[in-house]
Amino acid sequence: MLNASRYLKIGAVVLLAVAILAFPSLAPNPYILSAGVLVLNYAVLSTSWNFVGGFTGYISLGHGALAGLGAYGTGLLVAKGGLPPFLALFAGAALVAALAVPIGFAALRVRGASFVIVSIALVLILLLVFQSSASVTGGSRGLVVPRPFDLTRPEHHRVFYYLFAGLLAVALLAWWLIDRSRFGLGLKSIREDEDKAEALGTATFSYKLIVFVVSAGFTALAGGLYALWFGDLDPVFQFSILTGSYLVLMALLGGVRQLFGPVAGAIIVGTALEYFKVEYGDTPLHLVATGLLLGLVVLFMPDGILPAIGDLLKRFDRTQKSSIREVTAAELREQRRGEQDDPNRTAMTEAGR
Protein backbone atom coordinates (compact mmCIF):
# COMPACT_ATOMS: atom_id res chain seq x y z
CA MET A 1 0.00 0.00 0.00
CA LEU A 2 2.91 2.27 0.75
CA ASN A 3 4.47 1.45 -2.60
CA ALA A 4 1.33 2.29 -4.55
CA SER A 5 1.10 5.77 -3.05
CA ARG A 6 4.85 6.26 -3.43
CA TYR A 7 4.72 5.44 -7.15
CA LEU A 8 1.77 7.77 -7.48
CA LYS A 9 3.78 10.54 -5.82
CA ILE A 10 6.86 9.96 -8.00
CA GLY A 11 4.62 9.88 -11.07
CA ALA A 12 3.02 13.19 -10.10
CA VAL A 13 6.42 14.82 -9.54
CA VAL A 14 7.75 13.59 -12.90
CA LEU A 15 4.58 14.82 -14.60
CA LEU A 16 4.99 18.23 -12.94
CA ALA A 17 8.66 18.46 -13.99
CA VAL A 18 7.84 17.49 -17.59
CA ALA A 19 4.96 19.98 -17.70
CA ILE A 20 7.18 22.78 -16.37
CA LEU A 21 10.01 21.99 -18.81
CA ALA A 22 7.71 21.61 -21.82
CA PHE A 23 5.70 24.77 -21.16
CA PRO A 24 7.90 27.20 -23.17
CA SER A 25 7.59 25.03 -26.29
CA LEU A 26 3.81 24.87 -25.88
CA ALA A 27 3.23 28.55 -25.06
CA PRO A 28 1.35 30.07 -28.00
CA ASN A 29 2.80 33.58 -27.65
CA PRO A 30 5.46 35.55 -25.75
CA TYR A 31 2.86 37.00 -23.40
CA ILE A 32 1.82 33.56 -22.15
CA LEU A 33 5.48 32.64 -21.81
CA SER A 34 6.14 35.75 -19.71
CA ALA A 35 3.18 34.81 -17.51
CA GLY A 36 4.88 31.42 -17.09
CA VAL A 37 8.07 33.20 -15.94
CA LEU A 38 6.02 35.13 -13.37
CA VAL A 39 4.38 31.96 -12.08
CA LEU A 40 7.76 30.25 -11.73
CA ASN A 41 9.06 33.33 -9.94
CA TYR A 42 6.17 32.99 -7.49
CA ALA A 43 6.93 29.27 -7.14
CA VAL A 44 10.55 30.01 -6.15
CA LEU A 45 9.46 32.79 -3.80
CA SER A 46 6.81 30.75 -1.99
CA THR A 47 9.12 27.74 -1.73
CA SER A 48 11.72 30.09 -0.21
CA TRP A 49 9.07 31.49 2.15
CA ASN A 50 8.26 27.94 3.17
CA PHE A 51 11.72 27.47 4.71
CA VAL A 52 10.50 29.72 7.51
CA GLY A 53 6.71 29.33 7.30
CA GLY A 54 6.54 25.60 6.72
CA PHE A 55 9.25 24.43 9.08
CA THR A 56 9.02 26.85 12.00
CA GLY A 57 5.41 28.03 11.61
CA TYR A 58 6.48 31.69 11.71
CA ILE A 59 4.20 33.43 9.19
CA SER A 60 6.19 36.19 7.50
CA LEU A 61 4.38 38.79 5.43
CA GLY A 62 7.71 40.51 4.87
CA HIS A 63 9.25 38.20 2.31
CA GLY A 64 8.20 40.57 -0.45
CA ALA A 65 10.68 43.02 1.04
CA LEU A 66 13.48 40.45 0.98
CA ALA A 67 12.75 39.81 -2.70
CA GLY A 68 12.74 43.57 -3.27
CA LEU A 69 16.10 43.91 -1.54
CA GLY A 70 17.47 41.14 -3.76
CA ALA A 71 16.10 42.86 -6.85
CA TYR A 72 17.53 46.26 -5.93
CA GLY A 73 20.80 44.74 -4.72
CA THR A 74 21.32 42.98 -8.05
CA GLY A 75 19.99 45.92 -10.07
CA LEU A 76 22.20 48.50 -8.37
CA LEU A 77 25.29 46.30 -8.55
CA VAL A 78 24.76 45.98 -12.32
CA ALA A 79 23.52 49.49 -13.13
CA LYS A 80 25.71 51.51 -10.75
CA GLY A 81 28.44 49.07 -9.76
CA GLY A 82 29.11 47.79 -13.27
CA LEU A 83 29.32 44.17 -12.11
CA PRO A 84 28.59 41.34 -14.56
CA PRO A 85 24.87 40.45 -14.17
CA PHE A 86 25.17 36.98 -12.68
CA LEU A 87 28.01 37.93 -10.35
CA ALA A 88 25.76 40.79 -9.20
CA LEU A 89 22.92 38.32 -8.69
CA PHE A 90 24.90 36.17 -6.28
CA ALA A 91 26.61 39.13 -4.60
CA GLY A 92 23.20 40.74 -4.09
CA ALA A 93 21.75 37.57 -2.60
CA ALA A 94 24.76 37.21 -0.29
CA LEU A 95 24.28 40.80 0.87
CA VAL A 96 20.60 40.19 1.61
CA ALA A 97 21.44 36.98 3.47
CA ALA A 98 23.94 38.94 5.56
CA LEU A 99 21.34 41.61 6.19
CA ALA A 100 18.87 38.90 7.22
CA VAL A 101 21.03 38.17 10.28
CA PRO A 102 20.26 41.46 12.10
CA ILE A 103 16.70 41.53 10.71
CA GLY A 104 16.06 37.99 11.94
CA PHE A 105 17.81 38.75 15.21
CA ALA A 106 15.22 41.43 15.92
CA ALA A 107 12.12 39.89 14.33
CA LEU A 108 12.48 36.30 15.56
CA ARG A 109 12.41 37.38 19.20
CA VAL A 110 8.64 37.70 19.00
CA ARG A 111 6.18 34.97 18.13
CA GLY A 112 2.76 34.62 16.58
CA ALA A 113 0.86 37.76 15.62
CA SER A 114 3.69 40.00 16.83
CA PHE A 115 6.08 38.40 14.34
CA VAL A 116 3.58 38.92 11.52
CA ILE A 117 3.33 42.63 12.40
CA VAL A 118 7.11 43.06 12.64
CA SER A 119 7.45 41.45 9.20
CA ILE A 120 4.86 43.88 7.77
CA ALA A 121 6.80 46.77 9.31
CA LEU A 122 9.90 45.61 7.45
CA VAL A 123 8.09 46.05 4.10
CA LEU A 124 6.75 49.50 4.97
CA ILE A 125 10.08 50.77 6.28
CA LEU A 126 11.98 49.58 3.21
CA LEU A 127 9.35 51.07 0.89
CA LEU A 128 9.93 54.49 2.45
CA VAL A 129 13.71 54.08 2.40
CA PHE A 130 13.84 53.10 -1.26
CA GLN A 131 11.36 55.75 -2.34
CA SER A 132 13.09 58.57 -0.52
CA SER A 133 16.69 57.79 -1.43
CA ALA A 134 16.01 58.60 -5.07
CA SER A 135 19.60 59.63 -5.81
CA VAL A 136 20.71 56.02 -5.42
CA THR A 137 17.63 53.92 -6.17
CA GLY A 138 15.93 56.15 -8.70
CA GLY A 139 13.01 56.49 -6.27
CA SER A 140 9.56 56.41 -7.79
CA ARG A 141 10.96 57.04 -11.27
CA GLY A 142 12.29 53.52 -11.12
CA LEU A 143 15.61 51.81 -11.71
CA VAL A 144 16.44 50.48 -15.14
CA VAL A 145 18.50 47.29 -15.04
CA PRO A 146 20.42 46.53 -18.25
CA ARG A 147 19.49 43.17 -19.75
CA PRO A 148 22.17 40.50 -19.47
CA PHE A 149 21.60 38.93 -22.89
CA ASP A 150 21.17 40.45 -26.33
CA LEU A 151 18.14 38.40 -27.34
CA THR A 152 14.74 38.81 -28.95
CA ARG A 153 11.82 39.10 -26.52
CA PRO A 154 10.54 35.48 -26.78
CA GLU A 155 14.09 34.14 -26.47
CA HIS A 156 14.73 36.39 -23.47
CA HIS A 157 11.61 34.99 -21.74
CA ARG A 158 12.56 31.44 -22.62
CA VAL A 159 16.07 31.74 -21.15
CA PHE A 160 14.78 33.27 -17.94
CA TYR A 161 12.01 30.71 -17.72
CA TYR A 162 14.64 27.98 -17.54
CA LEU A 163 16.81 29.98 -15.13
CA PHE A 164 13.83 30.28 -12.76
CA ALA A 165 13.10 26.56 -13.22
CA GLY A 166 16.70 25.76 -12.28
CA LEU A 167 16.54 28.01 -9.20
CA LEU A 168 13.26 26.34 -8.23
CA ALA A 169 14.92 22.93 -8.45
CA VAL A 170 17.78 24.06 -6.19
CA ALA A 171 15.37 25.58 -3.64
CA LEU A 172 13.27 22.41 -3.60
CA LEU A 173 16.39 20.28 -3.15
CA ALA A 174 17.51 22.41 -0.20
CA TRP A 175 14.06 22.21 1.41
CA TRP A 176 14.00 18.45 0.94
CA LEU A 177 17.46 18.06 2.50
CA ILE A 178 16.50 20.12 5.54
CA ASP A 179 13.16 18.30 5.83
CA ARG A 180 14.85 14.95 6.37
CA SER A 181 17.71 16.25 8.53
CA ARG A 182 18.08 16.54 12.27
CA PHE A 183 18.08 20.32 11.81
CA GLY A 184 14.68 20.05 10.09
CA LEU A 185 13.32 17.93 12.92
CA GLY A 186 14.37 20.65 15.37
CA LEU A 187 12.68 23.32 13.23
CA LYS A 188 9.46 21.34 13.07
CA SER A 189 9.49 20.85 16.83
CA ILE A 190 9.70 24.66 17.12
CA ARG A 191 6.58 24.90 14.97
CA GLU A 192 4.75 22.43 17.22
CA ASP A 193 5.80 23.78 20.63
CA GLU A 194 8.73 26.15 20.90
CA ASP A 195 9.17 26.04 24.69
CA LYS A 196 8.99 22.28 24.70
CA ALA A 197 11.59 22.11 21.91
CA GLU A 198 13.91 24.31 23.95
CA ALA A 199 13.37 22.15 27.04
CA LEU A 200 14.48 19.14 24.98
CA GLY A 201 17.79 20.85 24.18
CA THR A 202 17.09 22.49 20.81
CA ALA A 203 18.82 25.86 20.43
CA THR A 204 15.59 27.33 19.09
CA PHE A 205 16.81 30.85 18.39
CA SER A 206 19.85 29.76 16.38
CA TYR A 207 17.74 27.27 14.45
CA LYS A 208 15.21 29.95 13.53
CA LEU A 209 17.90 32.47 12.60
CA ILE A 210 19.78 30.03 10.36
CA VAL A 211 16.70 28.96 8.46
CA PHE A 212 15.59 32.60 8.14
CA VAL A 213 18.92 33.47 6.53
CA VAL A 214 18.65 30.51 4.12
CA SER A 215 15.10 31.57 3.26
CA ALA A 216 16.20 35.19 2.73
CA GLY A 217 19.04 34.04 0.45
CA PHE A 218 16.74 32.08 -1.86
CA THR A 219 14.14 34.85 -1.80
CA ALA A 220 16.79 37.40 -2.78
CA LEU A 221 18.04 35.15 -5.62
CA ALA A 222 14.50 35.05 -7.01
CA GLY A 223 14.17 38.81 -6.60
CA GLY A 224 17.52 39.42 -8.31
CA LEU A 225 16.66 37.12 -11.19
CA TYR A 226 13.39 39.01 -11.55
CA ALA A 227 15.33 42.29 -11.77
CA LEU A 228 17.55 40.92 -14.55
CA TRP A 229 14.52 39.57 -16.40
CA PHE A 230 12.09 42.46 -16.02
CA GLY A 231 14.71 45.20 -16.27
CA ASP A 232 12.73 47.88 -14.45
CA LEU A 233 12.22 48.24 -10.69
CA ASP A 234 9.79 50.47 -8.82
CA PRO A 235 9.70 50.56 -4.98
CA VAL A 236 5.88 50.48 -4.95
CA PHE A 237 5.88 47.04 -6.56
CA GLN A 238 9.11 45.70 -5.05
CA PHE A 239 8.16 46.58 -1.49
CA SER A 240 4.49 45.75 -1.66
CA ILE A 241 2.62 44.08 1.17
CA LEU A 242 0.71 42.18 -1.51
CA THR A 243 3.75 40.14 -2.57
CA GLY A 244 4.18 38.67 0.89
CA SER A 245 0.44 38.02 1.17
CA TYR A 246 0.42 36.17 -2.15
CA LEU A 247 3.32 33.99 -1.00
CA VAL A 248 1.50 33.08 2.22
CA LEU A 249 -1.67 32.31 0.27
CA MET A 250 0.19 30.11 -2.23
CA ALA A 251 2.00 28.15 0.46
CA LEU A 252 -1.13 27.68 2.58
CA LEU A 253 -3.18 26.69 -0.46
CA GLY A 254 -0.73 24.03 -1.57
CA GLY A 255 0.22 22.85 1.91
CA VAL A 256 3.07 24.19 4.02
CA ARG A 257 4.17 20.79 5.28
CA GLN A 258 4.62 19.48 1.73
CA LEU A 259 7.73 19.86 -0.42
CA PHE A 260 5.64 20.69 -3.50
CA GLY A 261 2.87 22.53 -1.64
CA PRO A 262 4.07 26.07 -2.38
CA VAL A 263 4.77 25.17 -6.04
CA ALA A 264 1.24 23.80 -6.46
CA GLY A 265 -0.17 26.89 -4.75
CA ALA A 266 1.95 29.22 -6.92
CA ILE A 267 0.75 27.55 -10.11
CA ILE A 268 -2.91 27.89 -9.07
CA VAL A 269 -2.81 31.37 -7.54
CA GLY A 270 -0.22 32.74 -10.01
CA THR A 271 -2.26 31.58 -12.99
CA ALA A 272 -5.45 32.93 -11.44
CA LEU A 273 -3.81 36.31 -10.79
CA GLU A 274 -2.65 36.60 -14.40
CA TYR A 275 -6.07 35.53 -15.67
CA PHE A 276 -7.85 38.10 -13.52
CA LYS A 277 -5.49 40.83 -14.69
CA VAL A 278 -6.22 39.99 -18.32
CA GLU A 279 -9.97 39.72 -17.86
CA TYR A 280 -10.64 42.55 -15.46
CA GLY A 281 -7.66 44.81 -16.04
CA ASP A 282 -6.95 47.29 -13.31
CA THR A 283 -10.02 46.62 -11.20
CA PRO A 284 -9.34 45.31 -7.71
CA LEU A 285 -11.40 42.21 -8.50
CA HIS A 286 -8.32 39.99 -8.46
CA LEU A 287 -7.78 41.03 -4.84
CA VAL A 288 -11.37 40.13 -3.95
CA ALA A 289 -10.95 36.74 -5.62
CA THR A 290 -7.65 36.16 -3.82
CA GLY A 291 -9.24 37.00 -0.48
CA LEU A 292 -12.13 34.63 -1.16
CA LEU A 293 -9.71 31.88 -2.11
CA LEU A 294 -7.76 32.35 1.13
CA GLY A 295 -11.01 32.16 3.13
CA LEU A 296 -12.09 28.97 1.39
CA VAL A 297 -8.72 27.31 1.91
CA VAL A 298 -8.61 28.14 5.61
CA LEU A 299 -12.20 26.92 6.07
CA PHE A 300 -12.18 23.71 4.10
CA MET A 301 -8.57 22.66 3.56
CA PRO A 302 -6.61 23.96 6.55
CA ASP A 303 -3.70 21.68 5.66
CA GLY A 304 -3.72 22.68 1.99
CA ILE A 305 -4.64 21.10 -1.32
CA LEU A 306 -1.95 18.42 -1.52
CA PRO A 307 -2.83 16.79 1.84
CA ALA A 308 -6.53 17.04 0.92
CA ILE A 309 -5.82 15.18 -2.35
CA GLY A 310 -3.78 12.63 -0.41
CA ASP A 311 -6.70 12.00 1.97
CA LEU A 312 -9.06 11.66 -0.98
CA LEU A 313 -6.80 9.05 -2.60
CA LYS A 314 -6.51 7.17 0.67
CA ARG A 315 -10.29 6.94 0.85
CA PHE A 316 -10.31 5.03 -2.44
CA ASP A 317 -7.41 2.82 -1.45
CA ARG A 318 -9.02 -0.26 0.02
CA THR A 319 -5.77 -1.76 1.24
CA GLN A 320 -5.45 0.97 3.84
CA LYS A 321 -7.38 1.13 7.07
CA SER A 322 -10.33 3.34 6.43
CA SER A 323 -10.72 5.33 9.61
CA ILE A 324 -8.76 6.57 12.57
CA ARG A 325 -11.29 5.01 14.94
CA GLU A 326 -10.67 1.55 13.57
CA VAL A 327 -6.94 1.91 14.13
CA THR A 328 -7.28 3.12 17.68
CA ALA A 329 -9.67 0.32 18.58
CA ALA A 330 -7.22 -2.27 17.26
CA GLU A 331 -4.39 -0.62 19.13
CA LEU A 332 -6.41 -0.56 22.31
CA ARG A 333 -7.14 -4.27 22.06
CA GLU A 334 -3.50 -5.00 21.46
CA GLN A 335 -2.51 -2.87 24.41
CA ARG A 336 -4.98 -4.56 26.76
CA ARG A 337 -3.82 -7.97 25.67
CA GLY A 338 -0.23 -6.94 26.29
CA GLU A 339 -1.02 -5.77 29.79
CA GLN A 340 -2.93 -8.92 30.68
CA ASP A 341 -0.28 -11.30 29.44
CA ASP A 342 2.49 -9.56 31.16
CA PRO A 343 1.94 -7.23 34.10
CA ASN A 344 5.64 -6.45 34.44
CA ARG A 345 5.87 -5.21 30.92
CA THR A 346 8.21 -2.34 31.68
CA ALA A 347 10.48 -4.52 33.72
CA MET A 348 10.58 -7.25 31.11
CA THR A 349 11.41 -5.22 28.06
CA GLU A 350 14.91 -4.34 29.09
CA ALA A 351 15.65 -0.94 27.57
CA GLY A 352 16.46 -1.66 23.97
CA ARG A 353 19.67 0.27 24.05
Binding site: F183, K188, D193, A199, G201, V327, E331, T346, G352, R353
Partner: protein, 244 residues
Protein backbone atom coordinates in the same frame (compact mmCIF):
# COMPACT_ATOMS: atom_id res chain seq x y z
CA UNK B 1 24.69 12.73 49.98
CA UNK B 2 26.14 15.00 47.33
CA UNK B 3 24.02 17.74 45.94
CA UNK B 4 22.65 17.65 42.43
CA UNK B 5 20.22 20.54 41.99
CA UNK B 6 20.15 23.28 44.55
CA UNK B 7 18.95 26.84 44.97
CA UNK B 8 19.87 29.66 47.31
CA UNK B 9 17.36 32.32 48.30
CA UNK B 10 15.43 32.04 45.03
CA UNK B 11 12.84 34.80 44.55
CA UNK B 12 10.30 35.40 41.83
CA UNK B 13 7.25 37.65 41.80
CA UNK B 14 4.62 38.03 39.10
CA UNK B 15 3.33 41.55 39.54
CA UNK B 16 2.15 41.66 43.14
CA UNK B 17 2.05 37.89 43.57
CA UNK B 18 5.11 36.39 45.18
CA UNK B 19 5.55 32.91 43.74
CA UNK B 20 8.96 32.16 45.23
CA UNK B 21 9.90 33.83 48.48
CA UNK B 22 13.52 33.04 49.22
CA UNK B 23 13.55 29.33 48.44
CA UNK B 24 16.73 27.57 49.52
CA UNK B 25 16.54 23.93 48.55
CA UNK B 26 19.03 21.10 48.13
CA UNK B 27 18.08 17.91 46.33
CA UNK B 28 20.06 14.73 46.64
CA UNK B 29 22.10 13.11 43.92
CA UNK B 30 21.07 9.62 42.86
CA UNK B 31 17.81 9.74 44.79
CA UNK B 32 14.14 10.14 44.04
CA UNK B 33 13.32 13.59 45.41
CA UNK B 34 9.77 14.85 45.72
CA UNK B 35 8.55 18.42 45.90
CA UNK B 36 5.08 18.73 47.41
CA UNK B 37 2.89 21.53 48.63
CA UNK B 38 -0.52 23.13 48.17
CA UNK B 39 -1.59 24.58 44.82
CA UNK B 40 0.01 27.98 44.33
CA UNK B 41 2.88 27.25 46.69
CA UNK B 42 5.42 27.89 43.89
CA UNK B 43 6.36 24.38 42.80
CA UNK B 44 5.93 24.90 39.08
CA UNK B 45 7.51 28.35 39.23
CA UNK B 46 10.42 26.69 40.98
CA UNK B 47 10.70 24.17 38.13
CA UNK B 48 10.52 26.93 35.55
CA UNK B 49 13.24 28.91 37.31
CA UNK B 50 15.70 26.05 37.66
CA UNK B 51 15.21 24.90 34.05
CA UNK B 52 15.71 28.42 32.69
CA UNK B 53 12.20 28.83 31.31
CA UNK B 54 11.79 31.96 33.44
CA UNK B 55 14.44 34.11 35.09
CA UNK B 56 14.32 34.42 38.87
CA UNK B 57 14.32 37.96 40.31
CA UNK B 58 17.19 37.05 42.62
CA UNK B 59 18.96 34.07 44.11
CA UNK B 60 21.07 31.38 42.48
CA UNK B 61 20.50 27.97 40.95
CA UNK B 62 23.33 25.46 40.99
CA UNK B 63 23.53 22.13 39.26
CA UNK B 64 26.32 19.65 40.03
CA UNK B 65 28.30 22.46 41.62
CA UNK B 66 27.98 24.89 38.69
CA UNK B 67 26.00 28.12 38.75
CA UNK B 68 23.31 27.84 36.07
CA UNK B 69 21.16 30.83 37.09
CA UNK B 70 19.59 32.49 34.05
CA UNK B 71 21.12 30.14 31.49
CA UNK B 72 19.11 29.35 28.36
CA UNK B 73 16.78 26.34 28.74
CA UNK B 74 18.42 24.39 25.92
CA UNK B 75 21.83 24.75 27.58
CA UNK B 76 20.49 23.53 30.89
CA UNK B 77 18.76 20.64 29.10
CA UNK B 78 21.98 19.66 27.34
CA UNK B 79 23.80 19.99 30.64
CA UNK B 80 21.94 16.88 31.75
CA UNK B 81 18.68 18.08 33.26
CA UNK B 82 15.49 17.04 31.49
CA UNK B 83 11.93 17.98 32.41
CA UNK B 84 8.30 17.21 31.66
CA UNK B 85 5.53 19.79 31.82
CA UNK B 86 2.57 19.95 34.18
CA UNK B 87 0.05 19.71 31.38
CA UNK B 88 1.86 17.16 29.31
CA UNK B 89 3.38 18.70 26.19
CA UNK B 90 4.19 16.78 23.03
CA UNK B 91 4.60 17.83 19.40
CA UNK B 92 1.02 17.15 18.19
CA UNK B 93 1.55 16.89 14.43
CA UNK B 94 4.68 14.77 14.64
CA UNK B 95 4.76 11.01 15.00
CA UNK B 96 5.72 9.41 18.30
CA UNK B 97 9.06 8.39 16.80
CA UNK B 98 9.76 11.95 15.59
CA UNK B 99 8.75 13.29 18.99
CA UNK B 100 11.39 11.16 20.65
CA UNK B 101 14.02 11.76 17.94
CA UNK B 102 13.76 15.53 18.35
CA UNK B 103 15.34 15.38 21.80
CA UNK B 104 18.94 16.54 21.64
CA UNK B 105 21.43 14.40 23.56
CA UNK B 106 24.03 16.12 25.77
CA UNK B 107 26.86 17.66 23.80
CA UNK B 108 24.78 17.53 20.62
CA UNK B 109 25.17 20.83 18.81
CA UNK B 110 23.28 22.13 15.79
CA UNK B 111 23.36 18.71 14.20
CA UNK B 112 23.93 20.07 10.70
CA UNK B 113 22.35 18.44 7.70
CA UNK B 114 22.99 14.96 9.03
CA UNK B 115 20.01 12.70 8.50
CA UNK B 116 17.68 12.51 11.48
CA UNK B 117 16.91 8.94 10.59
CA UNK B 118 20.22 7.32 11.37
CA UNK B 119 19.79 3.69 12.34
CA UNK B 120 21.44 4.03 15.75
CA UNK B 121 19.26 6.98 16.75
CA UNK B 122 16.08 5.26 15.58
CA UNK B 123 17.03 2.14 17.50
CA UNK B 124 17.61 4.17 20.64
CA UNK B 125 14.28 6.00 20.20
CA UNK B 126 12.41 2.77 19.57
CA UNK B 127 14.11 1.35 22.65
CA UNK B 128 12.60 4.07 24.81
CA UNK B 129 9.20 3.76 23.17
CA UNK B 130 9.13 0.03 23.81
CA UNK B 131 10.38 0.42 27.34
CA UNK B 132 7.43 2.72 28.01
CA UNK B 133 5.13 0.26 26.25
CA UNK B 134 4.08 2.50 23.35
CA UNK B 135 6.27 1.17 20.53
CA UNK B 136 3.16 0.10 18.60
CA UNK B 137 2.29 3.80 18.30
CA UNK B 138 5.66 4.86 16.83
CA UNK B 139 4.07 5.88 13.53
CA UNK B 140 1.04 7.64 15.03
CA UNK B 141 0.91 11.39 15.40
CA UNK B 142 0.92 12.54 19.01
CA UNK B 143 -2.41 14.35 18.57
CA UNK B 144 -4.11 10.99 17.87
CA UNK B 145 -2.85 9.45 21.10
CA UNK B 146 -4.66 9.25 24.45
CA UNK B 147 -3.68 11.42 27.40
CA UNK B 148 -1.89 8.58 29.16
CA UNK B 149 -0.04 7.61 26.00
CA UNK B 150 1.02 11.22 25.51
CA UNK B 151 2.37 11.35 29.06
CA UNK B 152 4.45 8.25 28.37
CA UNK B 153 5.57 9.76 25.05
CA UNK B 154 6.69 12.97 26.74
CA UNK B 155 8.70 10.92 29.22
CA UNK B 156 10.27 8.89 26.39
CA UNK B 157 11.37 12.15 24.72
CA UNK B 158 12.94 13.46 27.90
CA UNK B 159 14.78 10.16 28.49
CA UNK B 160 16.03 10.15 24.88
CA UNK B 161 18.20 13.15 25.78
CA UNK B 162 19.95 10.92 28.36
CA UNK B 163 19.53 13.29 31.32
CA UNK B 164 21.29 12.61 34.61
CA UNK B 165 18.50 14.40 36.43
CA UNK B 166 14.84 14.21 35.47
CA UNK B 167 12.28 16.76 36.68
CA UNK B 168 8.72 15.49 36.46
CA UNK B 169 5.85 17.94 36.91
CA UNK B 170 2.84 15.91 38.09
CA UNK B 171 3.56 12.60 36.35
CA UNK B 172 0.39 11.11 37.87
CA UNK B 173 -1.97 13.91 36.79
CA UNK B 174 -4.97 12.50 34.91
CA UNK B 175 -3.52 9.01 34.73
CA UNK B 176 -5.45 5.79 35.48
CA UNK B 177 -4.40 3.60 38.45
CA UNK B 178 -2.85 0.83 36.31
CA UNK B 179 -0.69 3.30 34.41
CA UNK B 180 0.14 5.06 37.66
CA UNK B 181 1.67 1.84 39.01
CA UNK B 182 3.69 1.43 35.85
CA UNK B 183 5.01 4.98 36.09
CA UNK B 184 5.97 4.40 39.73
CA UNK B 185 7.83 1.18 38.86
CA UNK B 186 9.54 2.88 35.94
CA UNK B 187 10.77 5.78 38.07
CA UNK B 188 12.30 3.34 40.57
CA UNK B 189 13.93 1.35 37.77
CA UNK B 190 15.41 4.44 36.14
CA UNK B 191 16.61 5.61 39.53
CA UNK B 192 18.29 2.27 40.13
CA UNK B 193 20.15 2.84 36.84
CA UNK B 194 21.62 6.02 38.30
CA UNK B 195 19.19 8.77 37.35
CA UNK B 196 18.26 11.41 39.88
CA UNK B 197 14.58 12.43 40.03
CA UNK B 198 12.82 15.54 41.25
CA UNK B 199 9.07 15.05 41.19
CA UNK B 200 6.26 17.51 41.77
CA UNK B 201 3.19 15.47 42.60
CA UNK B 202 -0.10 15.67 44.48
CA UNK B 203 -0.76 11.92 44.64
CA UNK B 204 0.51 11.20 48.14
CA UNK B 205 0.40 7.41 47.73
CA UNK B 206 2.82 7.68 44.83
CA UNK B 207 5.02 10.26 46.54
CA UNK B 208 5.28 8.31 49.78
CA UNK B 209 5.95 5.00 48.04
CA UNK B 210 8.66 6.06 45.60
CA UNK B 211 10.56 8.97 47.13
CA UNK B 212 13.68 8.90 49.27
CA UNK B 213 13.59 12.58 50.12
CA UNK B 214 10.71 15.03 50.28
CA UNK B 215 10.72 18.82 50.27
CA UNK B 216 7.49 20.55 51.29
CA UNK B 217 6.69 24.00 49.88
CA UNK B 218 4.30 26.52 51.31
CA UNK B 219 3.95 30.12 50.12
CA UNK B 220 7.01 30.05 47.94
CA UNK B 221 9.52 28.51 50.31
CA UNK B 222 10.33 25.14 51.86
CA UNK B 223 8.80 24.53 55.29
CA UNK B 224 10.11 21.01 55.85
CA UNK B 225 12.25 18.31 54.30
CA UNK B 226 13.23 14.76 55.06
CA UNK B 227 12.38 11.12 54.33
CA UNK B 228 8.69 10.13 53.90
CA UNK B 229 8.41 8.72 57.41
CA UNK B 230 9.38 12.09 58.92
CA UNK B 231 7.25 14.19 56.55
CA UNK B 232 4.16 12.09 57.27
CA UNK B 233 4.26 13.09 60.91
CA UNK B 234 5.53 16.67 60.63
CA UNK B 235 3.07 19.04 62.32
CA UNK B 236 3.66 21.96 59.93
CA UNK B 237 3.20 19.75 56.87
CA UNK B 238 0.01 18.27 58.23
CA UNK B 239 -1.34 21.74 58.88
CA UNK B 240 -0.31 23.37 55.62
CA UNK B 241 -0.87 20.60 53.16
CA UNK B 242 -2.09 17.22 54.20
CA UNK B 243 -4.98 18.91 55.98
CA UNK B 244 -5.25 16.50 58.86
Amino acid sequence: MTETLGTTDLRKAFGGVTALDGATVAFQHGRVNALIGPNGSGKTTFFNCVTGMIKPDSGTVTYAGRDITGKAPHRIARGGMGRTFQLCRTFPRMTALENVLSAVPPGGVLGGLRGARRRSEIDRAMGWLSRLGIEHLAGSEARDMSWGQQKLLELAGVLMAEPETVLLDEPAGGVNPALLDRIGVLIRELNAEGRTFVIVEHNMDLVMSISDHIVVFDRGRPIADGPPSVIKTDERVLGAYLGV
